[in-house]
């Protein structure tokens, strides 16, 4: 102890304690006086702060960086999770949109079909096409109603866009229809504008066109004309659209004209149709 005293170490210790005590007392006294007043920093404190500031700044920066990294890692995970959820949501919404579009298209089709049914003087039976075109060489389809529903061979099948075909074979619960563009189809037709009469026959094959034949040599027909059923022959009601003329030509021999007609109904895309329940001779 004496030795330490001689060295002055105790003195230094006491001085430090005293300094600390004084600092504390001084600090407390500035705080206790009145809180309204601004606290004047005690000089040593101030010094310490000046010295500490760069370290604090650096530490703050470093901890900020680490904090940023950990936050970004956390947020990356969150973002990935959010991204996954959003992708699933987009998928679900896309499916919903597709379903709604499908419903809207169906509603539009059915509205047109309903309008046709209300306007038609004949009794119409709504049918669905359940199978179509099982061979390249024929344009045929199967409908979901048969003789039990009053369907007979020869009855015309129509849509709101025009004539689709004709029933040619019937079983109790289903029937086969032949499209107007089938090779074996034929229906009385006329040009809507000029009333020129002829006969529309199917051409089959890939083109899907109709052949308007037996037109008089001087018949007034031009591309763009609308061709409708003439009602002659008793197969189809009069005035049903068949298609639009795309090409007019004079038959070999020059005695008659004929025209290529693009059907108004695309057989491949029809889903619902009506069978005209008229008595067929």
């Amino acid at each position: 102890m004496l030795h330490m005293l001689r060295n002055g170490k105790i003195a230094v210790l006491i001085a430090l304690i005293a300094f600390g005590t004084l600092t504390g007392v001084a600090h407390n006294s500035t705080l206790d006086e009145d809180k309204v007043f601004s606290v004047k920093p005690f000089i040593p404190e101030d010094c310490v702060r000046v010295v500490m500031k760069p370290f604090q700044n650096t530490l703050s920066c470093v901890s900020g960086v680490f904090d940023g990294i950990s936050k970004s890692l956390r947020s990356r995970k969150l973002l990935q999770k959010e991204n996954r959820q959003l992708r699933e949501e987009v998928k679900r919404l896309n499916m919903e949109v597709a379903q709604l579009r499908e419903d809207a298209a169906e509603a539009k089709r059915l509205r047109s079909a309903l309008a046709l049914k209300q306007q038609s003087p004949d009794k119409l039976l709504a049918v669905r096409i359940i199978s179509r075109n099982p061979s390249e060489w024929f344009v045929t389809a199967t409908i979901d109603r048969g003789s039990k529903s009053g369907i007979q061979p020869g009855q015309p099948v129509i849509t709101h866009r025009g004539m689709l075909g004709q029933v040619f074979e019937v079983s109790p619960t289903s029937a086969l229809i032949r499209g107007i563009n089938d090779n074996h189809s034929g229906v009385g037709a006329m040009v809507q504008r000029s009333r020129a009469m002829g006969m529309c026959q199917g051409m089959g094959g890939e083109s899907g066109l109709l052949h308007l034949t037996y037109l008089a040599k001087d018949a007034d027909v031009k591309p763009g004309d609308i061709v409708v059923t003439s009602g002659q022959g008793g197969i189809a009601p009069k005035g049903l659209p068949l298609g639009r003329v795309v090409k007019v030509q004079v038959e070999s021999g020059g005695f008659m004209k004929s025209a290529k007609v693009k059907p108004s109904v695309r057989f491949e895309s029809v889903e619902e149709a009506f069978v005209v329940l008229r008595k067929v001779e």
Binding site: I130, S131, R132, N133, P134, S135, E136, W137, F138, T140, A141, T142, F168, E169, L176, R178, N183, H184, M203, G204, G205, E206, S207, E268
Partner: protein, 164 residues
């Protein structure tokens, strides 16, 4: 009898599928003929008579769903089945070229025979359709033929194991 059950089921399924072909499967007017593919692929694993019978059944099914040219379907498919069955006697091998070639040639000649009885207006485009259809059927036949071979091999292995 069990040997014929699978081809029969396949024929019925093919018939149902034939009327529901999605539009993307139709290439320039040509569509694969599942019924004919089943007839050819199956007949290649059978004898000529069985092939002919299968072709006959395939023709009836196809004619019934089309509603037109039933007789032509029956005759052409029966001949196709019979000839495909005969191929196994003369040329049979596991070489994939055999079913592919047989399907292509038989589709083309069978459909040409069919068109003789049911002439079409536009022969040029029909020929095009026929060629694409033959290619289509060749590829499909290969798949079904391999599947049937695999089933046959499995059946034989099981029989051998049962004997042991």
């Amino acid at each position: 009898m069990r040997r014929y059950a699978l081809p029969l089921i396949m024929l019925i399924l093919a018939g149902a599928l034939q009327g529901y072909l999605p539009s993307w499967m139709v290439i320039r007017g040509a569509r694969p003929d599942f019924l004919m593919v089943v007839v050819i692929a199956t007949s290649l694993t059978l004898d000529p008579l069985s092939g002919g019978i299968l072709g006959f059944l395939g023709g009836i099914i196809h004619g019934s769903i089309v509603g037109e040219g039933v007789g032509s379907f029956i005759v052409s498919r029966t001949i196709i089945g019979f000839v495909a069955g005969s191929v196994t006697i003369r040329f049979f091998s596991d070489n994939p070229v055999v079913p592919v070639l047989a399907a292509g040639v038989l589709t083309f000649s069978g459909e040409a025979l069919f068109l003789l009885a049911n002439p079409v207006a536009d022969l040029g485009s029909s020929l095009n359709v026929l060629l694409i259809k033959s290619l289509y059927n060749s590829l499909l036949t290969l798949i079904i033929f391999w599947f049937l071979r695999w089933m046959e091999v499995r059946r034989k292995i099981k029989m051998a194991e049962a004997r042991l």
